[in-house]
Symmetry: C2
Subunit: 364 residues, 2 copies
Amino acid sequence: MSLDPGAAADLGTVRIVGTGLLGTSVGLGLSGMGVRVLLHDPSPTALALARDVGAGEPDPGDVPVDLVVVGAPPDVTAAVVAAELAAHPEAVVTDVASVKGAIAVAMKDVLGADRYVGGHPMAGRERSGPTAARADLFLGRPWVVCGTDRQRCEPVRMLALALGAAPVFMPASEHDEAVALISHVPQLAASLVAGRLVKAADPAVGLAGQGLRDVTRIADSDPMLWAQILSANAAPVTGVLKDLRTDLDGLITALDALAADPGRGGRAAIAQVIHNGREGRERIPGKHGEPPTRYAVVTALLPDQPGQLARLFDDIGEAGINVEEFSLEHAPGARVGLGSVSVLPAVRDELERALTERGWHVVA
Amino acid sequence: MSLDPGAAADLGTVRIVGTGLLGTSVGLGLSGMGVRVLLHDPSPTALALARDVGAGEPDPGDVPVDLVVVGAPPDVTAAVVAAELAAHPEAVVTDVASVKGAIAVAMKDVLGADRYVGGHPMAGRERSGPTAARADLFLGRPWVVCGTDRQRCEPVRMLALALGAAPVFMPASEHDEAVALISHVPQLAASLVAGRLVKAADPAVGLAGQGLRDVTRIADSDPMLWAQILSANAAPVTGVLKDLRTDLDGLITALDALAADPGRGGRAAIAQVIHNGREGRERIPGKHGEPPTRYAVVTALLPDQPGQLARLFDDIGEAGINVEEFSLEHAPGARVGLGSVSVLPAVRDELERALTERGWHVVA
């Protein structure tokens, strides 16, 4: 996947309303491919910054536009879209908000709503604002396009392709249920598990390992942004949370019975929860969006000094082995790192041999 | 942290009962430091394998032993410990099971129970059995020691130190509550979230990103082993799960109110859940068991070819920058990888400049 100037050439003049991370990134990508991009933001500072990083020119207000991209905060997106539809009666208007149903509902009585096509590029960063923008932010990411009229959707599809994203057509309701399941509820689960640590004793959190770190990584999120996203998608999120609560209730019942009488049954219900998790986990697409492959993992001890990772990957490269995934972990209390190299199962033994021969301490 | 032959020299003769992954790893580590290790396993094959990999000699049965390490499956550990206490009236007996309270309770009417000291090395691998054993499996890991009599605990503390682990003293009940919170409930949360994907539509799981992958990584676990662990720790796990259900109920109530009437309040309750998660997440110890540091992350595009990681780390090493964490991610649908390099915030800009100068495409 790469930026596609051919697709960009068909877009005409593009107006971007809201020069935050996403709007400015769209502007950077398109301007770099020669598209005329007109910028607008209620904040003169944000607008000037977006112009200065090269995302486009401030909209002079008298140029006809073909496509409007609304990158406003989630809670004002619908109002901004309606205003843009009225102000640009020939343009297709799209947005990048992460919840789509509420906006579609708000469009019902809006004049020109047939020119609105909802969009959601599945991309983001830890940093926000125009200075964090990147022309390549959308490279290889899914870009959901909500619309049934293929002709109306075409400019949004071309926008996604121009920016190197993969357009995915989906009705707004289906999108919102999908993100509730694969993004919003996992976020809440991570936050709830991490939230239980707030009042935990120091020695208890001192035993934490990589598993807890992984489960709670995304708990490190912005409360205000998530309150906006979750409240805009309240019904689908609640639906998934209630299913989750049913599963949780079943688990608590089984464990309660076991706690009261360890001789009784209940183990099967517990094993089933773990089994289902394993089956669900296997459905998550792996590398390159292809079906997940089970990689074999070889872990080497890494002295905590500069240059060790370079030496490790030199040695792996010399052995002609392709690394599928890699993670660097530090054992609690240890002055060494553990580098876990994931490779295709067929080359696992070869990798272990190659590393051992080259003096690496392979531990797993 | 490293293996400590000085500590090993004080252990005397060590008998290991159960030559699975943990028992054989203990044997390998101790034998390598000159400790006399006597092995026993009900399976002649497992015993022979442990001997062949160098974990020790089969116990001839007539040698006095100073320390017995029980590495039996969780559901038979208490019975094996009791039998060992009776058979070796002079020895201290310890075990490596991951739940400690049930065994302590079972010891109540056992003769010689004052010579039992519970242990839990916080180490493991994806593979099991004697052939997966490693002398360095425990390097840098916490090794929980459950006992109040420091003199009785001393051989177990020395065992942990000999194997390069960090001994942590903790009562059995406190240990079980700690692992419920930091290991067992996160496991169940990951399994429950992943379990919801089993019946999800293909297009929905197709939108999954790195967040979902992280939250559910440990859902890829062994159902039978976890049924044993969780049922042995049913009461503490249920306690944490019920707290979690209370939090979940509050969240569902707030979202239900918002779904019914978006104009109403409820956003504050949602923001609070995210906020608490962030606060809890900050309590998890980081690298080397020190307080967590916020690292700065620089992400580079990596063409999917052998040798690219080596080149990347060569370039980072040449710039004299120490990598704190690293992760390799593949965007769905993309034929490129994203390498995220975590460094101390002070050298972030220097790293970005160094990589850009050397021709890397830095994206975040």
